[in-house]
């Protein structure tokens, strides 16, 4: 990677969830990270992570502190956004069985707790597009915790990772990426590198 002259600041939504793990990962990769709890925290960031957590709790906190509109505005300006697990649910345009969509930035339909309760949480290896050099696929170890599944990918988005049995667990739409697993707790850096590269490219 070429040396960056001005590195973007990456915001991490910090209303609830494992935001500290994401921040730790970003700092390991030499990037400045910022906790986001209020709209003012979004000013000046070049990329955003929506972490793992409880999506119902996170949704309520996003609405309560008026974060939905400014995050959508960021996406419209081309700021890249990564959502992991609960974060991917927040990004989806549609949620199976009831809950209203929150940010509607990724053209997918997700099912919450799609694999079951905690006893069905699992680890596996999977191949994800766009993580290797020049956007090639790479196999990574992935942890799924009461994870969602992407049951449908709309025309604007594209599946970028599936399990052995064909279930879709990651989808991308331009600079928006939603994944059902947690690279932040396995130390897998590829997904965060992707976000940083996109954020750097968006800076121009």
């Amino acid at each position: 990677m070429a040396k960056r002259h001005s590195a973007p600041i990456i915001g991490v939504l910090a209303v609830q969830g494992d935001f500290a793990e994401h921040i730790h990962m970003l700092e390991r990769l030499g990037v400045e990270a910022r906790e986001v709890r209020l709209p003012a925290d979004l000013v000046g960031i070049g990329g955003l992570i929506l972490p793992g957590g409880e999506s119902t709790a996170m949704r309520k906190l996003l609405h309560r502190w008026d974060l939905v509109k400014p995050i959508k505005a960021l996406a419209k300006r081309g700021v890249p956004i990564l959502g992991t697990c609960a974060g991917a649910i927040l990004l989806a345009t549609k949620i199976v069985d009831g809950d209203e969509s929150v940010l509607s930035l990724l053209d997918v339909e997700v099912r919450r707790n799609a694999f079951g309760r905690q006893l069905e949480s699992f680890e596996t290896s999977l191949t994800m597009e766009g993580l290797g050099s020049e956007g090639r696929s790479r196999t990574i170890q992935a942890v799924f915790i009461r994870a969602p599944e992407i049951v449908k990918v709309g025309p604007s988005a594209r599946a970028v990772a599936t399990l052995d049995d064909g279930r879709i667990v990651a989808a991308r739409q331009g600079r928006i990426l939603g994944i059902a697993f947690h690279p932040e707790i396995t130390g897998e850096t590829g997904v965060h590198r992707w976000l940083i590269a996109e954020a750097t490219a968006a800076l121009g």
């Binding site: 609830q16 957590g53 709790a57 919450r112 707790n113 694999f115 309760r117 949480s121 915790i145 396995t186």
Partner: protein, 299 residues
């Protein structure tokens, strides 16, 4: 549909990982589906299903046991957030029943009457993860060594008085800090004294914190109590009697959630603390005889 066939379930990463996802959140005690719904609506990250909240257990006396499976199932059906349930200290069979009920976490809890005065549950033997209480570093590391994937400082449950919770979280932090920079010989001596492996002590000292997620519990009754817990370094908050013994449970629950997120922001804390009405009455510590202190259970 369950996990894929070739995937590994109930690994240390999935067990401790669920606790990581609960961080920065509030886990609320509930005794029926209606309360569970109120908790979920308020923004709880999980609920603890139990028959009586600690303040009622304290008042009623008698033997407190695992909850009725039907009650737990009713709560599981009512909400989509994780559902935890309590087993008595050392009661392997209660824990097996809770595992069969597919609860998301088991709390091996001093709030219930202990079943074994010598051994805690061997938690490595279970597929479901466990959370356990601690008063100090040795107790925390013994539980983690037994397989607990999450800790909570004990406080004194059912009192609405945060003083013991503060004492316990401070004690854990101070004991870790005291070991920092010590020689291997000293760490080995500390490990021996705490009856845990040296490697676990070394890992803890290097991280400067417990090696698993650590929530505060026992006596949290107001948004300010939640904020204080976070300020003292807790990863999140358990609230028991503090919500449904308050004058306005739904509003108090939501306010405690907001305070746990915005613990550093005094203006928001002031805003969410207003208009909650009376908090639970609470008990002064010196009025509780030593023998009736729940935090003394477990070792």
């Amino acid at each position: 549909m369950p996990a894929p066939k070739r995937a590994k379930t109930s690994t240390w990463a999935t067990k401790s990982g669920l606790a990581q996802m609960l961080k920065g959140g509030v886990i609320m005690d509930v005794v029926n589906p209606a309360e569970a719904k109120i908790a979920e609506e308020a923004g709880a990250v999980a609920v603890m299903a139990l028959e009586r909240v600690p303040s009622d257990i304290r008042r009623d006396g008698g033997v407190a046991r695992m909850s009725d499976p039907d009650m737990i199932k009713g709560i599981q059906a009512a909400v989509s957030i994780p559902v935890m349930a309590k087993a008595r200290i050392g009661h392997e069979s209660e824990a097996r029943i809770l595992e069969a009920l597919d609860v998301d976490y088991i709390d091996e809890s001093e709030v219930l009457t202990p079943a074994d005065d010598r051994f805690h549950i061997n938690k490595h033997d279970f597929k479901v993860p466990f959370v356990c209480g601690c008063k100090d570093l040795g107790e925390a590391l013994r539980r983690i060594h037994e397989g607990a994937a999450m800790m909570r400082t004990k406080g004194e449950a059912g009192t609405g008085n945060i003083v013991e919770a503060v004492r316990h979280i401070r004690t854990v932090a101070e004991e870790i800090a005291a070991l920092k920079g010590q020689s291997e010989k000293r760490l080995r001596a500390a490990a021996k004294e705490m009856r845990v492996p040296y490697e676990l002590v070394k890992l803890t000292v290097k991280a400067g914190r417990l090696p698993v997620v650590n929530f505060v519990a026992g006596g949290i009754a107001t948004p300010a109590d939640a904020a204080l817990s976070m300020w003292l370094g807790a990863d999140g908050v358990f609230v028991g009697s503090g919500i449904f013994k308050a004058k306005k449970p739904a509003k108090t629950a939501a306010a405690i959630v907001q305070a746990t997120t915005h613990w550093k922001n005094a203006a928001i804390l002031a805003e969410v603390s207003a208009g909650l009405g009376e908090a639970m009455k609470g008990i002064e510590m010196r009025t509780i005889p030593e023998g009736e202190r729940l935090s003394k259970r477990g070792w």
